[in-house]
């Protein structure tokens, strides 16, 4: 069983954190080694699972179709995704879906540098499927829990403290970003409060 390459977990992350994950790295020199983005909370990601509201789709390609999709999380932050001829299933989904719609997206994080030197983070989708509101809500709670776990782990391993439990990716995050970790806890609280308000107003209606 050791010979079986283990599939990596799809990280759960809110868009506010994902879009800050501008630093990429590989674990080996092999050309085919996976590329990871470094999440500011100190975890590597080479796959993400996102559920949110598809608000806009647009063919931004010049010669051939190249679809851009915007998926928004409860905080109003946007995940950008791009699908072209090499992601035919995802591209045709973006072509066919009518926003707004809840969608689930499995994909690879990608970064690119703009002309003015800014690094943008986006998703190259492996699959996009329409889902219902219950699935979206479940994702928000799950992503909140996973993010809190990372925030707690970061605090325990934060190398600026006198005593800390060393962690490779927390150290890397500290060196690359010096993150204000409180911001990511704030994202969790805001997302859950939005969900809580939604469910209360639905109950009253």
């Amino acid at each position: 069983m050791a010979a079986t390459p283990t599939r990596e977990v799809a990280q759960r992350v809110f868009a506010g954190e994902f879009n800050d994950a501008t630093y990429t790295f590989k674990e080996s020199d092999d050309d085919r080694a996976p590329v990871y983005v470094l999440l500011p909370t100190g975890e590597r990601a080479n796959r993400v699972f996102i559920v949110g509201t598809l608000t806009e789709t647009e063919d931004v390609g010049e010669d051939s179709e190249y679809w851009q999709g915007r998926v928004v999380d409860p905080n109003g932050d946007t995940f950008f995704m791009y699908a072209g001829q090499y992601q035919p299933d995802a591209a045709s989904m973006l072509r066919e879906l009518e926003p707004p719609a809840y969608v689930a997206v499995v994909g690879k994080p990608r970064t690119y540098e703009t002309d003015d030197g800014e690094v943008n983070v986006s998703v190259r989708p492996e699959s996009i499927t329409p889902v219902n509101e219950g699935t979206r809500d479940r994702w928000v709670v799950e992503t909140a829990e996973r993010t809190l776990e990372r925030v707690q782990a970061y605090r325990e391993a934060d190398p600026t403290q006198e005593e800390f439990a060393p962690d490779e990716y927390v150290r890397m995050a500290h060196e690359e970003y010096e993150p204000a970790i409180e911001n990511y806890r704030r994202l969790v609280v805001d997302a859950l409060e939005t969900l809580d308000e939604e469910s209360q107003s639905e109950a009253e209606a």
Binding site: M1, T4, T6, R7, E8, V9, A10, Q11, R12, R47, F49, V51, D89, V103, A104, V105, V106, E126, S127, I128, T129, V131, N132, E133, G134, T135, D137, R138, W139, V140, V141, E142, T143, A144, E145, R146, L148, V151, Q152, R155, R185, V188, V189, L192, E193, L195, D196, S199
Partner: protein, 311 residues
């Protein structure tokens, strides 16, 4: 030469049940090899052991490898091949042996779960009855593709036990989002040969060559909860329940499109990105889906919110 005597005792113990030889006799043979022929003790021991194996018409694996008693284990504890163990277990199921070399094959169970057993014809052991519980001494563990089993052999001691065993459930329950439907999913063809059922690749069975395949449905999926991934296999019934696409309908879809891959595509669209709770036995790295529940209802954010505010 107390050293040789110890070795002789150990060899004697290995053959105690099969051969009528004395410790002195063994020590003498060891002594000849070591002191007369200057053979290292490890080689001498090997030589003497092998000659007794021939004499008793045994295979090396039929004798105990070390002195002393075996570890008593439970079904779920077995995690390495080629270990000599004792266990007390109930015969949960007996299957039809596929070969004359096998006298009985089936499942043993105890509180911790179940494990496959094989009893060889040449071992000449008493029949095991389904539903009865036995103390089994001297069985050997084995592994095939990540799955463990135990083999009963010539030296195995079988005693019927009075106690009643409640056989445990070795099934696993996993919750997560379905993040991938792997190749080999959807409408597939299996080899029709007896006991084969291999999935055909381009109309060929890896064992029986080109065959007229039989259609089947299955999904090989990946459940992911953000911490762990679990590979899950849904059989025909589970696939039909999960996707709402029955085998006949799948065949019609493939016929219309002149392509079987349309079935998997349609299934992907229906199930990817949703959350499921799946329960069933594990087989190697796969979880076989016996029970599947779609998790579509809203979850209460309150507990997570309290935690988020408190840290």
């Amino acid at each position: 030469m107390t050293d040789l005597h110890t070795h002789a005792e150990e060899i004697h113990e290995q053959f105690a049940d099969q051969l009528d030889v004395s410790i002195d006799e063994i020590e003498e043979r060891l002594d000849t090899l070591v002191n007369e022929y200057q053979v290292p003790i490890s080689e001498a021991r090997r030589s003497v052991t092998n000659s007794y194996l021939d004499e008793a018409d045994l295979e090396r694996e039929d004798i105990r490898s070390g002195g002393g008693g075996n570890e008593t284990v439970q079904a779920a504890d077995v995690d390495a091949p080629e270990e000599w163990v004792d266990m007390t277990a109930k015969v949960v199921e007996l299957w039809d042996p596929r070969s004359d070399a096998v006298a009985q094959v089936g499942l043993l169970g105890d509180e911790t779960g179940t494990i496959k057993f094989t009893k060889w014809s040449k071992s000449d052991l008493p029949e095991l009855d389904e539903g009865k519980t036995y103390h089994l001494r001297n069985v050997v563990t084995d592994e095939y593709q990540g799955r463990f089993s135990v083999k009963l052999n010539r030296t195995t001691v079988i005693e019927e036990a009075d106690e009643e065993i409640e056989v445990g459930d070795d099934s696993l329950e996993v919750e997560g989002a379905l993040v991938d439907v792997q190749s080999g999913s959807g409408l597939i063809k299996r080899c029709p040969e007896d006991d084969c059922t291999r999935v055909l690749q381009n109309g060929r069975c890896s064992e029986h060559g080109e065959v007229e395949g039989e259609f089947d449905l299955r999904i090989k999926g990946v459940l992911d909860d953000g911490d762990d991934v679990t590979e899950v296999i849904f059989d025909q019934e589970a696939t039909e329940n999960l996707t709402g696409i029955a085998l006949e309908e799948a065949k019609d879809m493939a016929m219309d499109a002149l392509d079987t891959s349309v079935v998997a595509d349609e299934m992907r669209e229906k199930i990817l990105g949703r959350y499921y709770r799946v329960q069933g036995p594990t087989f190697g790295r796969y979880l076989l889906a016996d029970e599947v529940e779609v998790l579509e209802d809203a979850v209460d954010p309150e507990a997570a919110l309290i935690k988020a505010r408190s840290i």
